[in-house]
């Protein structure tokens, strides 16, 4: 399975690829036949030593993936690889440590430095594993809304619904059919609604809205935090505190807020005006698991906060403003969806900042006078007469 030959029927290959992706099995891709031969032979020759080496030293997968993208890579791959649009991989974080260990020269540091050097050397040789599914990448550099394809969604398993007995009939319009007693969500609907949601997120971000990403299930933490990071939004991955919106002053009153200018720089001089302000409310809430966060969605409804939610076949689509019919029980699916929304938010933020660079705001900014007024009465703190009218 791992060394499947390339010259096969398209259909079968596609099926295999699909299966591999589903099963997270890495497949070795060698494009050019001659090059493949050379590389393979080299790999065969070296593989035993390599295996022995890797067995001696525990190498974590994550480390390998970062190491591969270091600028030390040979120029051939550099030409082939287009410039990274998404995230420029930061410099090797361990560089500093390596330097430090080199200067110190203790036994452990030396052994470790040797190991790093060896790995860097040996990782360049051998066969090149490509197109393997790496669950990390959907968190590190999630796809953009424009990358949404049915295949992507299918591969991520967004189409899998719940057992038919558990369905919510309001979702019948999103359901494609039944397979082995399980509802299959229509990927067309998923893609369309996901694009619409991405658009909503992007536009809210472009208008300086506060976007809250909420995924309170186990394992959703990293994706949620990453999406919030991309979209310059806010995240919540633990329990939603009931009343955080309806009773915000009590629950979030002690949490710090700040006044920023159009280019998101903090303005310290308005700090004292923030003293008696009500707590900040989000302008858009993205919820990965609406079933568990009914309270949050209800509070959003009370506060006129639009919501986006992943609606599985057993969820109530009317709980959220913008449903995304998809599987919410697979981390892969939710990571993908929240990543896409995070990307959309990133695009929106970029637009907003670009406009700000030109001296424009895409929203109505709060003025210094408004900041100075009492937020509840709308008068200046000193003037009591106006208050009576």
């Amino acid at each position: 399975m791992a060394q499947a030959p390339r010259c096969r029927g398209v259909e079968r290959q596609a099926r295999q690829k699909f299966a591999r992706t589903i099963l997270n099995t890495p497949s070795v891709q060698v494009c050019d036949s001659t090059a493949s031969m050379i590389v393979r032979k080299f790999g065969l020759r070296q593989s035993r030593q390599l295996l022995a080496l890797t067995r001696q030293t525990p190498i974590s997968r994550r480390f390998l993936s970062t190491e591969f993208e270091t600028p030390v890579a040979n120029p051939a791959t550099e030409v082939q690889t287009p410039p990274k649009e998404t995230i420029v991989p930061s410099e090797n974080p361990l560089h500093e440590v390596v330097q430090a260990s080199r200067t110190q020269k203790t036994a452990e540091a030396e052994a470790w430095g040797r190991w790093v050097g060896q790995r860097r050397k040996f990782n360049r040789i051998g066969s090149e594993v490509e197109e393997a599914y790496d669950p990390e990448m959907v968190i590190r550099s999630p796809p953009r809304p424009s990358d949404i394809t049915l295949e992507l969604l299918l591969a991520s398993g967004t189409h899998l619904g719940h057992s038919t007995s558990r369905w919510n009939p309001q979702n019948s319009r999103y359901i494609f059919g039944i397979r082995e007693g399980v509802h299959i969500i229509s990927l067309d609907a998923t893609a369309a609604y996901l694009r619409r949601a991405a658009k909503v997120v992007e536009e809210v971000a472009a208008r300086g809205g506060i976007i809250l990403f909420a995924g309170t299930r186990k394992g959703q933490k990293r994706a949620v935090v990453r999406a919030a990071e991309l979209a310059k939004g806010y995240h919540i991955f633990e329990r939603w505190i009931p009343g955080a919106l309806t009773n915000g002053q009590q629950i979030l009153g002690h949490c710090e807020t700040m006044v920023v200018n159009a280019v998101d720089e903090k303005l310290e001089e308005f700090k004292r005006d923030l003293a008696d302000r009500p707590s900040v409310k989000p302008d858009l809430v993205v919820c990965l698991n609406p079933l568990e966060n009914v309270v949050m969605l209800h509070e959003c409804g009370l506060n006129n906060v639009p919501t986006i939610g992943i609606i599985d076949t057993d969820a109530d689509p009317t709980r959220v403003t913008y449903p995304i019919p998809a599987n919410d029980d697979s981390l892969r699916a939710t990571d993908l969806i929240v990543g896409i929304l995070g990307r959309a938010g990133q695009a929106g933020q970029k637009r907003r900042l670009e406009a700000a660079q030109e001296g424009k705001t895409t929203y109505k900014p709060i003025t210094a006078e408004q900041l100075r007024l009492d937020p509840f009465t709308g008068v200046l703190p000193g003037s009591e007469q106006k208050k009576q009218f």
Binding site: F18, T81, E130, S156, D188, A191, R195
Partner: protein, 349 residues
């Protein structure tokens, strides 16, 4: 492995549209193509899905929805997505007045939360956790030492940590944070990165409680060995000097203190079992508890003091059972019980 793949490549390959070299360059066009294909697939499968099907977004946007774009425009002539101008910027008729950016940047625009974890209710704690977790992931591959060899660090106590972050953090959550701190602390000491070190220092109690290494006790310059012992509720302090076997307990003689011969013998068992009874004088202060407890507290204290004089006696004393601390204490009485564990007699009626 090197590039992000989400199944899109497989999909394109199945359409024979993909070659690894041209994937990125041809991406925009391909994307459009793929999207169109996807929509077509949706149509062919019979699931009727058109733009009118979608609920309209409530945001004012001049940009047409993506579905419309894909269905109406041919793939080759598609302009890039970013071309769509933002609606807020009107077409320029004449040159706008110059913007004073100093003034613009000094104007407030928005009130936003200071932390991305604002809505969790404890933003500072969660920010700390996230920061430490990112550090842990970043330096996961550095060699570590065993938990016992790592330098001992005095982390904040829970109350101190609550003061530090200013949020009511529950014990359980703080323990999970401590776990990360301890893992970071286990990095090979000479290889700890600077940022890790500075971050760990944020969570240390002020002062260094573990700086004072307790010095092993010795016989002092006057030849006295001082040691303490406890048993039950009693505490004994013994000053042992070389001498002829004279024992004073609380300024009284041994006989006045312990009427029972058994108590006297047990108090001096350390000296007796090593046959040092006539080689040392002891000045003992004992308080609390009863006669037996006091006698056995003295046993322990004398044994410890004797060890200071003659460390070689340890195996003998160990075997004699006089340097084993008896940590048993009276169990407290509980409500609903007659004694510590005894329950009242069960009565049918």
């Amino acid at each position: 492995m090197a590039r992000p793949t989400y199944g899109i490549v497989q999909a394109m390959q199945s359409l024979r549209l993909y070659s690894p070299s041209s994937y990125r360059l041809a991406a925009p066009a391909l994307r459009r193509q793929a999207r169109g294909y996807a929509t077509e697939t949706g149509n062919t499968t019979g699931d009727v899905q058109s733009s009118s099907d979608l609920p309209p977004t409530d945001l004012p946007s001049t940009e047409p929805p993506a579905t419309e774009l894909s269905s109406t425009q041919p793939p080759s002539a598609a302009p890039p997505l970013a071309e769509a101008p933002p609606s807020e910027i009107p077409p320029a008729v004449k040159a706008a007045p110059e913007i004073n950016f100093d003034r613009f940047n000094a104007q407030p625009a928005r009130i936003v939360p200071a932390s991305p974890s604002y809505f969790s209710g404890s933003p500072r704690f969660i920010d700390n956790v996230l920061k430490l977790e990112s550090l842990q992931a970043k330096y996961a591959s550095l060699p570590t030492v065993g938990a016992g060899e790592a330098p001992r660090m005095a982390w904040f106590k829970l109350a101190q940590f609550r003061d530090y972050v200013g949020e009511p953090v529950p014990m359980k959550k703080y323990k999970s944070l401590l776990k990360i701190l301890q893992r970071l602390n286990r990095i090979q000491p000479e290889m700890v990165p600077g940022e890790v070190r500075s971050e760990l220092n944020n969570f240390l109690r002020p002062g260094n409680p573990y700086a004072a290494q307790n010095v092993p006790r010795t016989v002092d310059e006057n030849g006295r060995a001082r040691a303490k012992g406890k048993r039950k509720e009693s505490t004994a302090v013994v000053q042992l000097v070389e001498g002829e076997g004279e024992i004073m307990v609380n300024g009284k003689s041994l006989v006045e203190m312990f009427q029972r011969v058994h108590d006297r013998e047990s108090a001096l068992w350390a000296l007796r079992s090593t046959q040092r009874m006539d080689k040392y004088n002891a000045w003992i202060t004992v308080k609390g508890g009863g006669v037996t407890g006091q006698a056995e507290a003295i046993t322990l204290a004398i044994a410890r003091a004797l060890l200071l004089h003659e460390p070689g006696l340890k195996p003998v004393l160990r075997k004699a059972g006089v340097i084993t601390v008896d940590a048993r204490r009276v169990e407290r009485k509980k409500p609903g019980h007659v004694k510590a564990r005894k329950m009242p007699t069960w009565v049918k009626r």
